[in-house]
Amino acid sequence: MSKPLHDPLSKELDRQSRIEVKNTTCYMCACRCGIRVTLRDGEVRFIEGNPDHPINKGVICAKGSSGLMKQYSPARLTKPLLRKEGSERGDNQFEEISWERAFDLLEERLAHLRATDPKKFALFTGRDQMQALTGLFARQFGTPNYAAHGGFCSVNMAAGMIYTIGGSFWEFGGPDLERARLFVMIGTAEDHHSNPLKKEISKFKRKGGRFVSINPVRTGYSAIADEWVPIRPGTDGALLLALTNVIVRSGLYDREFLVQYTNAPELVNRDEGSPDNGLFVRRDIPVEEGCFDPQNKLWWDRERDEPVLTHTPAADPYLLGSFTLKDGTPVSTSFQLLTERLKEYTPEWAAGITGIPADTIHRLAHEMGITARDEKIELPIAWTDTWGNEHETVTGNPVAFHAMRGLAAHSNGFQAIRALAILMSVLGTIDRPGGFRHKAPFPRPIPPCAKPPNGPEAVQPDTPLAGMPLGWPARPEDLFVDEDGGPLRIDKAFSWEYPLSVHGLMHNVITNAWRGDPYPIDTLLIFMANMAWNSSMNTSEVRRMLNDRDEDGEYKIPFLVVADAFQSEMVAFADLVLPDTSYLERHDCMSMLDRPVSEYDGPVDSVRIPVLPPTGDSKPFQEVLIELATRLKFPAFTNGDGSRKFRDYPDFIINYETSPGSGIGFLAGWRGKGGEKFMKGESNPRQWEMYEENNCVFHYELPKSYQYMRNWNQGYLEWAKRHVLTRYAEPINIHIYSEVLQRFRLAAQGRSAGRQPPAHLRERLETHFDPLPFYAQPLEAEATDLHRYPLNAITQRPMAMYHSWDSQNPWLRQIHTWNFLYVNSRTAREAGIEDGAWMWVESMHGKVRCMCRHSEAVEPGTVWTWNAIGKAAGAWALDADADESRKGFLLNHLIKEELPAPDGSGPVSNSDPLTGQAGWYDVRVRIYPAEADEPRESAPQFEPVGPVPGQAVQNDPGKWLSWFAGRGGKP
């Protein structure tokens, strides 16, 4: 063999080049891994996982590894743009303007709104990891019309769990797979949490843990499950209730846990005639008022055979039973009420609903219960509970769950998720090794303390909003409604229609604003949300609403501002476009005030530090907000004399305090003058540098004795109080029975004094605000002719794509260039649809033509596709004939944001009646083959849009991309 001419190990180029290595945080999805970016002559050569980062410990995913292709994407917006005079929205006709002009336009318009009617300005954001800043902006502006995308994402997951156990999955908690023996994943696709979950599942499997995946579809993580249990969409609640039924009936529950740490043994008033019906019986003792459960409720003591205060030393309460108080009031323990509720929810009943055989449900319940009971973990960690009991060990019942949007995105999702949280609690797995673990700043009181404003007087000209734009109602008095009980937010959040809509209802904003219901608005600022495509239900109609005018020829939504880094489908509909930077070009923080990246062992927050200068005239959205807040003279952003308080976003992050002298700011690490403090402390002028020197991440590891049982861990709660994470070091008992829900129900029944719902909502509220979990089919199924539309249609997110972001990425789009509709082979054959053939999928709201893929990995009553691969022609800098638009399709055309009301009283939101969670996964469809003479392309199609000014698009059909860093991308 002759010697090779080409030296495969050559480092010559690197020796001749300028190599720089910088740490920052990924933003190719919401996972927020630490990354190390290598630049060669100023161009991205390589992005790898940072081995010293607690989130990903060196690994990186397909998206993270393709970040450089997003950085150099021709879809990047690089200039502020103003819609050309005379052009229509959607025409995509823009002129470049300066930032100065853009700011002047906004300042003039917004100053007028703020001085006259602040609620006419609405700010809604696709991302919810910047909401400490965006929420502050809205509040300082004085508008209540603000939310991030949680309402159409997974608010049910957050609310269902936080209203039950004071914590939730993903950012605020997760499965402890390091110690678990059985892991049950239900309704989870390939995201939330991404890399950390992959790492943990792999380690879990390798050490012999058993992994059960319950999902209509077997993809991604489910592929490597030891057992796949296919389930019909939207029936998770039925399964979870039946599992709990078997566990309770077999005595496989953790009695000690339920007695000590939940409200299961607490006595509930069962006097039908009493205004306190369904509320806990309380002893009349002086209690401190605050945002926590006062300890004045009662157990029924077995020895004394009479009620005693809960947690009375040496008391031995009944967990089950019904009793009569001295005054004749009938009472039951809340666990008694739960078991009565569960009686009807047998596995045999659930089998008919879920499609899971009753034997399987029995077996799964036994696996959970026996693993929890017989594989107990005792860690030699001493701790003290809030009642002063000292424990020598921390106990764990090693059954872990994980769930996400598959449970959440149904209009019956809140109660299903409550059922999950109750199952997890009955098994005794909350904040214990091998079960569910909290992440700081959780657990919070149930519900957390922040409250929305509660009346119209909270909105005043030139004044910050009185209350948080988003909060956690605990009683009807916390609702944001007018005297007649009518909604006060544009999305009707915190109204009687969706009382616990803690993340708002972004999916109804455009429809409501278009209709002027409850009132018209003037300016809608959308940040990083593709409302003209995959982020809206009923996409075609929403696009029409965005472009619709009133009798005077004015747009029904008069001014539409879009801030985004990329030419999404939404950009064409903007009046003003504000080009955002990429994640590699900006400062950012994953703040403890927002959604930090905490680990089970303690609080973690992190930052992004720019590794590249902004492209073109793009500007970080954070800088836009700081500049506008300063120009509009918001109190928090200006000095007493009206002068500028913060130079820019980095300066704001260092110097902003939640209130003067509070010592609480956006970043928890390296506070204090010299960086010697954390969580609380004076501003540190070198805070950014200190983050940069420490892998862009601050991680405080709690002492072991504070790492578990945090709802009731005196040491932890006092630590949290001392470090200002919480105001109260009081126990956070699990709400097996939800008195919060019962309070709304009493109002609906007209049995409580105080605020009353409008008459037409009473029945709906009474049904859904059940203090015990129940199963009902989703609203959409009730409104649909199920004989005509028998199938469920759902989407999943592929691991290599995040929302609509990645079709512009030439590497990632080669993994998913277009999407098929996956149909169980038998179902497809019965419908006469061949594998690979063109077909129609139709709901009562619309129809879509797409291509069929036969699959054995989907339950027969479900069809599914990858989310947001299909694109509108020409958007995202793709060619007009790109496969994404010609073969790809968007399922959203089949899903509507509103449904006819059962009583015919007008449309109601297609959302969970408790939380306003969008019912994405509830749509029912039928399928049939496309005719032979139909066009071989997806339908509907839209007029192609071209690039906007400032985009670096070269539409050369034979174009090659041969990226080689350091040579301007040229080889």
Binding site: G220, L320, A877, W960
Partner: protein, 243 residues
């Protein structure tokens, strides 16, 4: 002898494609790059990837397995792609067994890709030369990297650590132990190519439940006096027989 190779654990691979793009990212700007993409933003984009993940289903519903199967050059000990090369561009390194293409000698005739039974060679249609997985030969010997990172980019990236890297000729290496103890297998051994890369099969963990585990003295229902008991007047053996 040394034979470097990848061992891919199908038991934990979730098909995330991290290996696919981290490979491309490292190698496009490395000594094997650039890796061209045709019509990167157009119809039917087509690019060079040294490593691809195929996903397929096995079995019939509901006994379905979804398999994610990453595939790249297997660095055969007896590679059929080498002897067919008319210019000597295709070669196997003696020092570590890595199979490479010398881009300065390759004329793009594709003989090697016809000879490879695994379909893992990738013609760069822009430069008209053959390319393939190099096991990141320009990374693994780079002494400027920390030792733990001197591994192929795909191995460093893999979130499930499904890709093991090492010397399959060393019986004590992590890869050899994994092949030996976990049923590692090569692809299509009948071709006699002796692939160096191996795959580890799926493994299932099951739970056995004994009926008596459901009826135990410490059943908390007992404490609640709610264990099922026959009614007081139900017949028992006492009334039925006298023995």
């Amino acid at each position: 002898m040394t034979q470097l190779a990848l061992v891919i654990d199908l038991n934990v691979c979730v098909g995330c494609h991290a290996c696919v793009t981290s490979c491309k990212e490292w190698n496009t700007s490395g000594t094997a790059g650039p890796m061209a993409d045709l019509k990167p933003y157009g119809k039917e984009p087509r690019g060079t990837f040294f490593n691809r993940v195929q996903t397929f289903e096995v079995g019939e519903y509901p006994q379905t397995e979804t398999v994610h199967f990453p595939k790249s050059c297997l660095h055969c000990e007896d590679p059929p792609c080498v002897p067919v090369c008319p210019t000597g561009a295709s070669y196997k390194r003696e020092e570590d067994g890595i199979v490479l293409v010398d881009s300065d000698k390759c004329i793009g005739c594709k003989y090697c890709s016809w000879a490879c039974p695994y379909g893992v060679r990738e013609l760069d249609e822009h430069q008209k030369i053959m390319t393939k997985c190099t096991l990141c030969v320009d990374r693994i010997y780079d002494m400027s990297l920390p030792e733990a990172e001197r591994r192929p980019a795909c191995v460093n990236a893999c979130p499930t650590n499904a890709r093991l890297f090492g010397d399959v000729d060393d019986p004590d290496s992590e890869v050899s132990v994994a092949i030996r103890e976990q049923g590692g297998y090569p692809l299509m051994p009948e071709w006699g190519t002796r692939p160096a890369n191996h795959y580890l099969p799926r493994r299932k963990t099951r739970m056995t439940i004994h009926e008596d585990e459901l009826v135990r003295a410490d059943n908390p229902l007992k404490k609640e006096r709610q264990l099922p008991m026959p009614d007081a007047d139900d017949p028992t053996l006492d009334e039925t027989t006298s023995w």
